[in-house]
């Protein structure tokens, strides 16, 4: 038991003596948390809007004005012709082109409806979808206004039937993306640090020759691995704590659920990541290989965590793969506990899966560490 203590003591000494690594471990992630959390948003705004007005009447101008006052659209410019407008879209200067046909006002009164040409840069399909919703809303407002203007009262067979839809956004009334993203980014950062540190640790001792020295001592494999786990576990928990404080103070992310539950879950989660790291470290010969493998898994963990794109949107086989992504569970638990106030019973499935994962990975780490080859 005491032998584990000596390993822990050595690791801590090495970590804190390494002046170059300390800022990378503590400062870099927290700065990224502060800055990058502001980047993550799916809100569609500042849409680069342009128009071609063939009509030049008060009707066309009032339509254009509606786009000008909208907070979603930035009117970049107007173009005299379609070809110039299309060229601007090719150039990336505008993303929406509204073409108002000539004789808008006249045709409205005569034919009672007029078709409006709208081109949307649809490379980002989801954003394009949202943009078209906004455009439809603005056009509808315009229609209501112009009908009253042109004709006075509508002559229809009766007032239209309307289904009033009231969108309610629970846990995040203002659709504040930070509420969602900040905990997620914090998870990523903690995972990265713990994975990379543990992944390179044992390999480094292999490279400098001290691992061989240790293998000739009577220390048990499990003692060795546990001694290696503990310091990085502490670092992970410390990073998480500081990150949580920043989330609350600077981003005002709510903490609805139990903080203790959050910590309890995280303490097990970090063990999973460390187990994976040590396992990688046992199988690689150079720090470079360890780094690449750790990177490989990290990118997969990040992109398939459900933080940036929903897991429900992934094909079935990909969803199965995410079952093995520890980050996915962390993101789920984080959102459920911090934002919805879910309790132990609610997160039990994730907790159990993470626990099993932790035992499996660390067991593998111990098993794959061979004192005798």
């Amino acid at each position: 038991m005491k032998r584990i203590g000596y390993i822990i003591q050595k690791e801590f000494r090495q970590i804190f003596r390494n002046k170059a690594m300390l800022p990378i471990i503590f400062v870099m992630p927290l700065i990224q948390l502060l800055i990058l959390s502001n980047a993550a948003t799916f809100e569609v705004k500042n849409i680069k809007f342009s128009y071609i007005d063939h009509d030049h009447t008060s009707a066309s101008r009032s339509l254009i004005e509606k786009f000008e006052v909208s907070s979603y659209f930035n009117v970049i410019s107007d173009f005299p012709s379609a070809s110039l407008a299309n060229s601007a879209m090719l150039n990336g200067e505008v993303d929406v082109i509204l073409e108002i046909p000539g004789n808008l006002e006249r045709d409205l009164v005569k034919d009672k409806y007029v078709k409006l040409g709208i081109a949307i840069n649809a490379i980002n399909g989801a954003a394009a979808g949202v943009e078209s919703v906004y455009i439809n809303q603005i056009v509808r407002d315009f229609n209501k206004a112009i009908k009253v203007e042109l004709v006075g009262q509508p002559q229809s067979s009766g007032p239209p039937i309307s289904i009033a839809t009231i969108p309610l956004f629970w846990y995040n009334e203002t659709l504040n993306y930070k509420t969602f993203m900040v905990p997620g980014i914090l998870v990523m950062l903690v995972t990265m640090i713990t994975l990379f540190l543990s992944g390179m640790n044992i390999v480094r001792e292999k490279e400098i020759g001290t691992l061989e020295q240790i293998n000739v001592t009577p220390i048990r494999k499990s003692q060795f691995i546990i001694g290696k786990l503990f310091p990085f576990w502490v670092i992970g928990m410390a990073l998480l704590s500081i990150g949580l404080i920043i989330s609350k103070l600077i981003f005002d992310v709510p903490m609805v659920g139990s903080l203790a539950l959050m910590y309890f879950y995280t303490s097990i989660y970090i063990l999973v990541v460390l187990g994976i790291g040590l396992f990688i470290s046992n199988y690689t010969d150079t720090q470079q290989q360890a780094m690449f493998i750790a990177w490989f898994f990290m990118v997969i963990f990040i992109l398939m965590s459900g933080l940036f794109t929903p897991i429900e949107s992934m094909p079935g086989w990909a969803q199965i793969i995410t079952e093995f992504n520890p980050v996915k569970y962390f993101v789920e638990v984080m959102r459920m506990v911090m934002l919805k106030g879910s309790n132990l019973e609610d997160i039990l499935p994730q907790l159990l899966k993470t626990l099993v994962y932790a035992l499996a990975m660390n067991g593998l780490a111990v098993w794959s560490y061979k004192k005798t080859t």
Binding site: I7, Q14, I208, T210, V216, P218, T373
Partner: protein, 242 residues
Amino acid sequence: MDNQPIIQVESLTKRFGDFSAVDAITFKVDKGEIFGFLGANGAGKTTAMKMLIGISNPTSGKAHVAGYDVFTQAESIKKSIGYMSQKFALYDDLTVKENITFFGGIYGLSGAQIKEKTALMIEELELHEVAHQLVGALPLGWKQKISFSVALLHNPKIVFLDEPTGGVDPITRRQFWEMIYKTAHNGTTVFVTTHYMDEAEYCDRVSIMVNGKIEALDTPKRLKEQFEVDSMNDVFLKLARG
């Protein structure tokens, strides 16, 4: 019990695919001996030693170290032996004292014992000035001596030294061998590999490995007589030329 050889090796072999790094070697080492395990670079010395210290599994053959079987009781062997690797594996980013504390602790020494041993080592090796310096900053000769002493922290019965004097000047080498003598005098068996043939003169008995096999095994005096030469260096040259 005292008459039993402390190292007994019989037809020990290590193969990597088709290549036999160690080819059926047989020998024994008595308690308290300074046994020199000589050979050119690549002859198989380090591979053989790795089997004896329990970090490499033999392909075939038998060996007993300190009464334990290297194949089935590797972990028990490690309680009774000390090891100094070619790279003087100490942590460059820890101080001398911290290295001693770490390895002492790994070997199961109590806090008091570690303190005592540290003081002793600092005294004997005159490390007063550098005890709190990082090992990485020390010259090679000091690392060598500290590494050797660390291998002896837990009073092992045998200490295995792998090319311990590589890269240091002749005076430092001489000093180091004085340390080895003292250790052997206290009853510790010393098993040392080296490719410096002049160091063979310092050993009680030597074996010379060529291409994985032991081609000579005797005291330095008798080997010189056998090959009718004046130095161990010449013994080796004669052997190597075949």
